[in-house]
Subunit: 116 residues, 2 copies
DNA sequence: CTCGGTCGTTACGGTTCCGTATCAAGTAGC
DNA sequence: GCTACTTGATACGGAACCGTAACGACCGAG
């Protein structure tokens, strides 16, 4: 069932979801980390460090560090590209899928709670 | 004009807006800082440090530090409560209003770009 | 084989954030 | 006045992040 979103409600929805992220025991991700995570899970593979850096317009070390952190959280995984061993491919994990899915559920849930 | 949001699109919208925040020169706020900012601007005053800490379920120093940072960015302002001088009231600023408004515009703009 | 170019990682110094604990200022009851 | 309580700010050590710069591993043209 689709949810209608009026301009005045958009910010309220954003606030509710952001707040839910903070209040929950959810891993405390940076905005950048979140952007990386969502890109990996919503855009078709393959995902390379270089590609992600270009997509987010940040430097490569930012991506490397974010992958270190999120890798420790098991939200993403690294994998050498066998075809071109210079590349590192970023892959999804079960834990990451569940985490992203949960965010989606939160958005929809909060959207439904909006005053009509 | 309202925008319809289907479950499968919610995450895509979230990604687009988060990405826009990263790519823009927007002040690099923490998730927590963003939650505080949106709460101050979307919920009716007054806002106290204690109240915000309780609302976000974080400790008081977190709020104090966030207000230090966002205060330096002119996104919020502190003001002593004259009635009870122990309290500090968090108030909105012109710059903060513009920033929050811009986020709202981004959400709506990205929502309209979603595939029908 | 060699050498320029590309890839991701690491090193560095600096800044910011965290949580816990402590603090000064202010209030209210006695 | 004095004490118990509340409020927000601060101190501290530790952790994470940033951007710049340098690094080793790898590819591919010649």
């Amino acid at each position: 069932m689709p949810v209608t979103l009026r301009p005045g409600q958009a910010l309220g929805l954003w606030r509710e979801v952001t707040l839910a992220q903070v209040v929950d025991d959810a891993p405390d991700l940076t905005i950048r980390q979140l952007a990386i995570l969502l890109t990996v899970y919503l855009e078709p593979p393959p995902h390379t460090i270089r590609g992600l850096a270009a997509r987010l317009q940040v430097t490569k070390p930012v991506i490397t560090r974010a992958l270190d952190t999120m890798g420790a959280m098991k939200l993403v995984a690294r994998h050498r590209d066998e075809a071109d061993k210079r590349n590192v491919l970023v892959r999804r994990t079960v834990e990451g899928s569940l985490f992203v899915e949960k965010i989606g559920d939160t958005i929809i849930a909060k959207a439904r709670e909006l005053p009509t």
